[in-house]
């Protein structure tokens, strides 16, 4: 089954629920190696997204992604605001004006997203950032897409890989973002941004999988 604007909106709402549910967990993760606002930032951002979704009825998946991007950029702030904002903005451009995304176009959107984050944030793999969840997610998505999977399957694969990727940040020493000031002391903690990526992809997969 392809992914319509309605599917995309439902997925985003589920993502918003996930951010609300995991707000305190993300705050705790950020308190350990950052400044403790990540959960609040993401929750505030996705509440703004939902408020915008309630007002508008974006006609295409790309328009939904664009709305998410602009809402996040204008409500989150912090490092995660422009980074997630850029991710969704690039994904939206990649999706273009099509009515529906299939597995391949969805994977391409994810690829565009991660490239946007890298170009903005200049993080490399193993710098202990959201990249460490996003990059394996994109690779897994691309792999499934080439074997002809539909959006639900592509997202499921991406979500799983993101979860593993997020977990892989635990032993890493941060070299980007606020956690980098901790040096060695950053090891032993899950990166909050990577965790958000995994949570969001899992929420997106959840919706598209159900429908």
């Amino acid at each position: 089954m392809p992914c319509t604007a309605r599917d995309a909106a439902a997925a985003v709402r589920r993502g918003a629920d996930a951010m609300a549910e995991h707000r305190d967990e993300l705050v705790e993760l950020d308190r350990a190696i950052g400044d403790g606002d990540h959960g609040e930032n993401m929750d505030r951002g996705f509440r703004a997204v939902v408020a915008q979704l309630d007002l508008a009825d974006p006609p295409t998946p790309g328009a939904v992604l664009k709305l998410v991007a602009t809402s996040l950029i204008s409500s989150v702030g912090g490092a995660s605001g422009p980074l997630f904002g850029t991710a969704f903005l690039r994904a939206a451009s990649s999706a273009g004006e099509v009515e529906e995304l299939d597995g391949a176009t969805l994977a391409a959107s994810l690829r565009a997203a991660v490239e946007g984050v890298v170009s903005r944030g200049k993080a490399e793999p193993e710098d202990k950032t959201m990249i460490d969840a996003l990059l394996p997610a994109v690779r897994a998505a691309e792999e499934r897409a080439t074997s002809g999977a539909d959006p639900a399957e592509v997202l499921a694969a991406a979500a799983e890989a993101a979860t593993t990727g997020a977990r892989s940040t635990v032993p890493l020493i941060a070299r980007k973002g606020r956690a980098s000031y901790l040096g060695d002391r950053s090891a032993g903690h899950l990166d909050p941004g990577a965790r958000s990526v995994a949570l969001l992809l899992a929420a997106f997969a959840d919706v598209t999988g159900v429908e």
């Binding site: 308190r31 400044d35 409500s75 912090g78």
Partner: protein, 331 residues
């Protein structure tokens, strides 16, 4: 969590309401997006100086809005940089046609959000230049980190570049002066206690009764080392030594010494530390000719202090001495 607040997530908005009420003649406060502007902005043909960043460091930046310093300040949520649209709205309101200098502290969030704002503004044909302050010598390794943090030097830079803009310097010249300040300013801080972010509800770190954090950042970022609490003499030495060595500041250099409270340090302790710092510098032959002592860049209710040294020349000294009239700094 003990705080004088209503809803934790409304703290910044509620505080801005109070600022608006307290300074009706001086400030124009906007909400949604939130920023604070000079009541008389835009000042025609003057370069606008605009800064911003996460809240919780007051008076930085909102308390420095006024003649001779900032034209606008854009406060984000507590410890969270503001969004690009807020910066864009602030600049749109205060730019007087001569362009705007953005003063940004070097944190990933601030840099990225101001960068986006600058792109938006350039698309609107507003001339924008940016200076990124990165004066915290506590961060030793700038390659494997997000780079040096912007701390106390920001206050001095905003005052000086504000004076340059006020005397009529153009954008390129304001930017050049800002870069000169940035190149000659170094800071380091320490903490006795941690702050508590309202929407977090718990202290940002745990510190034993006998410990202090040396090299702490203004968001309670960890410092160089966590050591046993020392006498004021020892603390001053631990902070000033690396600051001096870094630029380095040399014998006979003329400097401004800024002794800053992290928020909750009693004024007696702050002046006491300032006095020790002056003697320490005098012993090394560094000539302190200007000083600033007080809580100017804080971290909520954190106790502790930071020292900032700025190399002065005739022009920077004159710009420092030029009149300023803001809620937090006036002469």
């Amino acid at each position: 969590m003990k705080k004088i607040i209503n809803a934790p997530t409304d703290v910044v908005t509620d505080a801005l309401r109070g600022m608006a009420a307290a300074h009706p003649e001086r400030l124009r406060v906007r909400f949604d997006p939130a920023f604070v502007a000079r009541a008389d902005a835009p000042v025609a043909d003057k370069v606008a100086v605009v800064s911003g960043g996460g809240s919780g460091h007051e008076p930085l930046h909102v308390g420095f809005v006024g003649s001779g310093m900032l034209d606008a300040a854009v406060p984000g949520a507590v410890f969270t940089s503001p969004t690009p649209d807020a910066v864009r709205a602030a600049v749109g309101e205060v730019d007087g046609g001569a362009g705007t200098l953005l003063v940004v502290k070097n944190y990933t969030g601030d840099v990225l959000n101001f960068e986006t704002a600058a792109e938006l503004l350039e698309a609107e044909n507003i001339g924008v230049r940016t200076v990124v302050v990165q004066d915290d010598v506590a961060v030793r390794d700038s390659t494997n980190t997000a780079g040096r943090r912007g701390v106390g030097g920001t206050v001095l830079l905003e005052k000086i570049v504000g004076a340059a803009a006020a005397r009529g310097d153009d954008l390129a010249s304001c930017h050049e002066i800002a870069e000169r300040v940035s190149a000659g300013v170094r800071s380091m801080g320490m903490a006795l206690t941690a702050p508590t972010v309202p929407h977090v509800g718990e202290p940002s770190f745990e510190l034993a009764d006998y410990e202090m954090e040396v090299g702490v950042g203004i968001h309670a970022e960890p410092g160089r080392e966590r050591v046993e609490l020392e006498s004021a003499d020892g603390i001053v030495w631990r902070l000033l030594e690396p600051v001096l060595d870094d630029l380095p500041f040399r014998r006979d250099d003329e400097v401004l010494l800024f002794t800053n409270s992290m928020g909750a340090t009693p004024q007696t302790e702050l002046y006491l530390a300032h006095g020790i710092a002056e003697r320490f510098l005098a012993e090394r032959g560094v000539r302190v000719t200007r000083r600033l002592v007080g809580p100017y860049i804080t971290s909520l209710e954190m106790r502790g202090l930071s020292f900032t040294l700025l190399k002065l020349d005739d022009e920077l000294r004159r710009l420092w001495d030029a009149p300023v009239s803001t809620p937090a700094l006036t002469w």
